[in-house]
């Protein structure tokens, strides 16, 4: 059985390793588009800040890791697939035949269609190659504009601040990281950044980028401001890498639509990770989560389905995020924005940048978000995913949401007693 995996990111590596675990005899080929060992985009900010070398971003540290496991890593970019002949065509026109195929091609950073976006010194921050360029250009005292205050934007703020650049963040939405924060929390993150000497413009759009004096750029906003910049970093969004699947007959929406076994609409083809539009645990809807834990879990589920068949359906993945914005740690889980008819418990301490917000449906935790919390944050996932009825603890959490760990433990213990009864 030859399993071919297109991609070499976390979903691909997770899938490959699980396949080997489930069936040691299977033949596995992992197709890596970038000419470096499989690495993690999550780790790039730490490379940017200088904490680690490029090797520090590698998904597996032993150079022979994949070889030792019997996983073939082949460098090359897939240009199309042919489900009829069950083969993948590469950019160099060579083909690889597969029995089962996993599409784990991830996503690519996009650039908004505005004038000047393709000028020199306007970069994404997505690949290791991008990171090298940014390191080269973000010199102390230089003017840097960061377009987009989403996850990627926020997470590289610290490394940019550490490089002592004059930083301006421009965000279209009315708050930072709008995909994981309500306005209270998003505004607190903005205040924190401003407090750290970063200029943050929210509800602001870049209209155009023009060549300025020398090598500098001039960035014009919809508020009429022109800001000089030596470097513009574009972190406005990503798009699933699905272009090469055109004509394959695979159902594609925002990403490759997958069912509860990570199967696509075409037999023997699966998808996982940032490219996959899978089921969300909380809503039951299908969308691209593009987060590390989901990529890994996708890979694991896909591996099972590909090796053992469609045995266990996935209940979907809990959307969750953790973000470190210049030292301010935020998390969000599940339906952090709440659900219709649900209850909300919220504590705000703007002065000390502490925030916690719990969302309930009846007495079940369905979503949560926090600022400044580092201890036992995982229990938010635990409570959401086990959908445990909280009973009397619901009221206690409504009164004081910081008692989350206690609520979790009380539930775990009750479960424990039930099991032994």
């Amino acid at each position: 059985m030859h399993h071919v995996i297109i991609g070499a990111g976390p979903a691909a590596v997770s899938a490959a390793e699980h396949m080997k675990k489930l069936d040691a005899r299977s033949e596995i080929t992992m197709l890596a588009a970038e000419n470096v060992p499989p690495y993690s985009r999550m780790a790039i900010p730490y490379f940017l800040v200088g904490n680690i070398t490029p090797e520090g971003t590698y998904l597996r540290k032993n150079a022979d890791h994949f070889e030792n496991l019997g996983i073939n890593v082949r460098h090359g970019r897939a240009s199309s697939i042919d489900p009829q002949s069950k083969s993948v065509k590469l950019a160099d026109d060579s083909t690889i035949a597969y029995d089962k195929l996993l599409v784990a091609t991830g996503a690519t950073a996009t650039k908004p269609p505005i004038p000047g976006i393709d000028l020199d010194n306007v970069h994404n921050c997505w690949s290791l190659a991008d990171a090298h360029k940014i390191i080269e250009k973000a010199t102390p005292g230089s003017n840097v504009i960061l377009m987009g205050a989403g996850f990627i934007g926020c997470i590289i703020l610290e490394s940019l601040a550490a490089r002592k650049v004059n930083l301006t963040v421009i965000e279209m939405e009315n708050r930072m990281v709008s995909r994981m924060t309500n306005s209270v929390m998003g505004t607190m993150i903005k205040d924190w950044c401003v407090d750290k000497g970063i200029r943050v413009l929210t509800s602001t759009k870049v209209d155009r980028i023009d060549p300025g004096q020398g090598s500098a750029l001039s960035v014009s906003t919809n508020t009429g401001e022109s800001i000089a910049a030596d470097l513009v970093i574009c972190a406005t969004g990503v798009r699933s890498n699905t272009a090469f699947l055109e004509g394959s007959g695979i159902n594609i929406d925002m990403g490759v639509v997958v069912g509860d076994y990570m199967e696509t609409s075409v037999t023997d083809i699966y998808a996982a990770g940032d490219v996959a539009q899978g089921k969300d645990f909380s809503t039951g809807d299908y969308y691209v989560q593009a987060i590390q834990p989901t990529a890994v879990e996708h890979g694991k589920i896909a591996a099972q389905s590909m090796v053992n068949g469609h045995v266990t359906a996935s209940p979907g993945n809990v959307n969750m995020n953790v973000l470190d914005t210049v030292g301010l740690i935020s998390t969000s889980f599940g339906m952090w924005m709440g659900v219709d008819g649900g209850d909300e418990s919220e504590l705000v301490d703007k002065e000390n940048y502490q925030y916690i917000n719990l969302q309930f449906k009846d007495d079940v935790l369905v979503g949560a978000s926090s600022l400044g919390m580092t201890q036992h944050v995982g229990v938010m996932r635990g409570l959401i995913q086990t959908a445990s009825p909280l009973g009397e603890w619901k009221d206690k959490l409504m009164a004081n949401p910081t008692r989350l760990s206690e609520a979790y433990l009380a539930g775990a213990q009750a479960q424990d007693q039930k099991n032994s009864a």
């Binding site: 504590l347 301490d349 925030y355 400044g372 009164a399 004081n400 910081t402």
Partner: protein, 618 residues
């Protein structure tokens, strides 16, 4: 070195918080906590000051072993001049607050001045901030604790707080930490409230390093824990039954003060004993006692954690009391029970909860209610004062009513909040007040345990069992049995216990360790933690130095040998039951021997020679 060498000075008048180096010379001479903080009080305040005025200072102090893994190394003390006794006050508490203060990097916090409006202090490591506490004022300790915990969004924060009793001027208000541990005696909570300081919230994540000899410390504290574990008292008796096991013991030996100390045995003792706490109740088949709980680092875990019978009249309509809280402990159970003649264990537990909830010293509260009951019996107090309540000995309803009124400082509760001495004076019967230096007695009748009479009368903070617990020897046989009815030799015993206790307190340890540990077990732990040589002899000398320093402070505050006294009842009215029948306290015989053993003058003053020998300040 185990000290953080840093203290926090909080001036409530100016609203400033400043860091200062700890005076290490003094730390060498006075160790920490009780001794060291009193040294600061002596240096910085006028002993004649008004205890409730801005010139009094209040210190929360840890010892060098507070926050370490030494067993019981979690204690802290609150030190100030007492409004109840006008003498030095030092009240010791366990729980977790003291260790947390240390983990935040502070050996002690000195509060001075008085805030113009209610404030609370938050300490997060080096960051100390005063906050407005108008919303907390008027709230109980339990309510305020919840509000502060929510506000600071930190379940791990440790909070010390005063209740409504303190705000209302109850003279025996406690500082309650961790919801049910208290710096209970002498009205230290009253002083805190007089400064308009409602609470201290502390969170320490820095930790405590600085151990002088880490290897030796690990070895010696481990050995110490083994001694506690293997000792039958600290290894089995205290964890299983807690201090309350004494209820039957002291009753049996005929030294259980009953009905305002008129009698020495209580017919209802068994109903309010440790054994009774463990009996299943009729209503739900559960005992009042839930479990035993420990203070920080304590490997004994004597603390009782209990519930009240939900069908009991005191709480049947109050679900907020259907929870667990600390108690009953022996002294509290005695004062609220035998001393008031009440043998209803749920009533006692309820009133004890009120003491936790609103920060009252249960010993002083119970004793004061007992005195009020005697005043009521004689007609000096009538139902006109008590809202129609029959304040009779043995009435559980009256006890609960009186405690509620005192907790909130309402009506006759304000009179009760004055303490036994002032109450009895107000109603024309000072002889009914069972106090020394204005502080109420604990649970041992000096007629049945002679050494305790001397210990009470000479205690620097007024009648107290924790300043020289000769019960250990006279009743419990620790370290060796002496005859409780015999006054010979008690002067030396009292002095030794007093000095040892001062040293143990100042180290940051719990005095209960001394049921198993001798100073030979303790000194090596201090020695390994702290720079310099800390021998048994040095520890005892430090203890003696502290005792004499406190004595000199009290002298300057206006106290004399004449205050080393006992109520006439204990000196003149013989015990009427039990082994002590026919006996009175032989204080007059013991006191001169004690003064001599102390190296004091015949009228109880520290001599210049003793002052010199101990290197006392001033």
């Amino acid at each position: 070195m185990s000290w953080t060498k840093k203290l926090l000075r909080v001036n409530l008048s100016s609203g400033t918080c400043t860091e200062e180096p700890l005076n290490m010379q003094w730390a060498n001479d006075y160790l920490g906590q009780r001794g060291l903080a009193t040294r600061y009080i002596v240096e910085e305040t006028d002993p004649a000051c008004d205890p409730l005025g801005p010139d009094n200072k209040l210190i929360m102090a840890t010892g060098p072993l507070t926050g370490t893994m030494a067993s019981t190394g979690g204690r802290y003390s609150v030190i100030c001049k007492s409004p109840l006794t006008n003498a030095i006050a030092c009240s010791n508490s366990g729980g977790f607050f003291g260790a947390e203060l240390k983990f935040a990097g502070w050996d002690m916090v000195i509060f001075e001045g008085r805030a113009a409006s209610p404030m609370y202090l938050s300490i997060e490591n080096e960051k100390a901030t005063l906050h407005a506490a108008d919303d907390l004022w008027g709230k109980s300790v339990w309510e305020a604790d919840g509000m502060l915990r929510t506000k600071h969004q930190d379940p791990q924060a440790r909070i010390a707080c005063v209740g409504r009793s303190a705000e209302q001027g109850c003279l025996y208000a406690a500082v309650v930490n961790d919801l049910h541990r208290a710096a209970g005696r002498s009205g230290v909570g009253t002083v805190m409230a007089s400064k308009n300081l409602k609470a201290v919230v502390v969170r320490g994540t820095l930790g405590l390093g600085n151990i002088d000899n880490p290897e030796a410390f690990a070895a010696t504290t481990k050995a110490g824990k083994a001694v506690l574990a293997e000792n039958a008292v600290t290894g089995q008796g205290l964890p299983a039954y807690g201090t309350q096991v004494l209820m039957n013991v002291i009753n049996e030996v005929g030294a259980l003060p009953t009905r305002n100390m008129r009698e020495t045995t209580f017919e209802g003792a068994a109903n309010v004993s440790a054994e009774a706490m463990a009996e299943p109740r009729k209503s739900d088949g559960k005992p009042n006692l839930t479990t035993n709980g420990a203070c920080y680092a304590c490997t004994i875990a004597c603390g009782r954690i209990s519930t009240i019978d939900r069908t009991h009249f005191s709480v049947k309509d109050k679900p907020e009391y259907w929870i667990n809280s600390g108690g009953l402990e022996y002294e509290a159970a005695w004062a609220l029970g035998p001393d008031t003649g009440v043998d209803d264990i749920d009533a006692l537990t309820y009133v004890n909860f009120l003491c936790n909830e609103d920060g009252m010293d249960p010993i002083s509260l119970g004793s004061t209610i007992a005195a009020a009951m005697e005043l009521f019996e004689t007609g000096a107090i009538t139902t006109a004062q008590t809202d129609g309540v029959e304040l009779k000995f043995g009435s559980a309803e009256a006890l609960c009513w009186a405690a509620e009124a005192t907790a909130k400082g309402e009506g006759f509760g304000r009179d009760l909040g004055m303490g036994s001495k002032r109450l009895c004076e107000k109603y024309g019967h000072p002889e009914f007040s069972m106090t020394v230096k204005g502080q109420e007695f604990p649970a041992y009748d000096p007629r049945g345990i002679q050494g305790m009479g001397l210990a009470y009368s000479t205690s620097n903070r007024g009648a107290c069992h924790l300043r020289g617990y000769t019960v250990a020897s006279e009743v419990l046989g620790i370290p060796e049995k002496t005859d409780p009815l015999e006054s010979d030799g008690k002067a030396g015993l009292v002095k030794a216990f007093q000095d040892a206790t001062a040293a143990v307190d100042s180290a940051g340890l719990c005095v209960f360790t001394t049921f198993a540990w001798t100073m030979d077990d303790i000194a090596p732990q201090v020695d390994a933690a702290c720079a310099g040589d800390w021998s048994t002899e040095r520890m005892m000398e430090v203890g003696e130095r502290i005792w004499n320093m406190e004595r000199e402070y009290n002298a300057k505050a206006g106290l004399t040998g004449a205050d080393d006294n006992l109520p006439a009842r204990l000196l003149n009215e013989p015990a009427n039951s039990g082994p002590a029948t026919g006996r009175v306290s032989e204080l007059a015989k013991m006191l001169p021997e004690y003064y001599e053993a102390r190296g004091w003058t015949a009228d109880g003053s520290v001599t210049a020679e003793t002052h010199q020998r101990l290197g006392l300040p001033g």
